[in-house]
């Protein structure tokens, strides 16, 4: 259910091809909801069949063409409805904490490696999100800048504020994971003298 809405979130800003979406995804919504192009293309077709989108073939070079999608009024309504509908929380599936719960089965060195990898992973997430946060602040963020250009002045601050809020949350998550893994490293050291 999330992917169609993540696509709508981008397409309400401006019409795009599947390829465009795939590209912009990586640098914006994809931070919170990853999707490969092999999932995007069929989803766009389905959304067109459902009347949420309309696609038209536009020329590309002398012989080529590409299919550009734009949101229909029904699509815009569906997106708003989704935004006003409470979220269903999925049951936890957290491989890192799963392994952590049985870490006494790992060799001490492997345990350290796990925790270091956890720190490294979330550090790189953190760096990415801090970078995005900076781009939000100074308006160099690709999709957001495009978005704000289509937004009435009085709503711009709102839009920007919720983006900032989102990335603040992601940053807090990453920091919590890093702190936890560091505590884990100290624990492994203590347990192995």
């Amino acid at each position: 259910m999330s992917l169609p809405n993540a696509l709508l979130a981008l397409l309400v800003v401006e019409p795009m091809t599947g390829y465009d979406l795939h590209k912009h995804f990586e640098a914006s919504v994809g931070h919170v909801w990853h999707a490969p192009d092999s999932q995007i293309y069929p989803t766009l077709k389905r959304m067109e069949a459902e009347g949420l989108l309309e696609g038209e073939d536009i020329p590309w070079g002398p012989r080529g063409k590409k299919r550009q999608y734009h949101v229909t009024p029904a699509g815009r309504e569906a997106f708003k409805t989704w935004m006003n509908t409470p979220l269903e929380y999925a049951r936890t599936r957290d491989p890192a904490h799963l392994k952590a719960a049985y870490l006494e089965w790992a060799e001490p060195d492997a345990a350290r490696e796990h925790l270091l990898a956890h720190i490294e992973h979330h550090s790189s997430m953190l760096a990415q999100w801090q970078q995005t946060m900076k781009e939000i602040e100074d308006g160099t963020s690709g999709m957001l800048a495009r978005r704000l250009a289509h937004t009435p002045k009085k709503d711009q601050e709102k839009t920007r504020a919720f983006k900032r809020f989102t990335y603040e949350g992601l940053i807090a998550q990453a920091e919590a994971e890093i702190a936890w893994a560091q505590r884990g490293l100290r624990l492994v050291d203590k347990l192995n003298g």
Copy 2:
């Protein structure tokens, strides 16, 4: 890849039927890796076919029987190998932060509802985990108690320490989510002030 190992984590303690596993799952590993019984039964069969488990039919009442699985040496090795293998981090898919990123599309009341639901969800997670933490401390945690009874004294503290560590992490996650959503509530109030 996680489910078979989550099952092994329980089965290395003592042989169990699919039904037993399903039950114990809910109260232990299921906290970090949920699985419905409809996934557990076929997975057990597959693991038996792969030689990780062996099952035997044991009588249950006058006419009934049930299939009890125990871990083979190969299964024990596979579990250890998994515990020593680095984790592959999956790309983010976080519906709550996805919605948060576009919260300006929601009615102010719906936005508040989202954030309140987020707080409520993670508060109940928090309560559950604090409860489990208490059970870890005083030895009333079902699977852990069973586990410790089969563990040499010198390793018991290690086992208990990693469980504590895991739930500390989950508690920190929940607290971070709650704090984030509360910041969100203040933001919504300010923007619609």
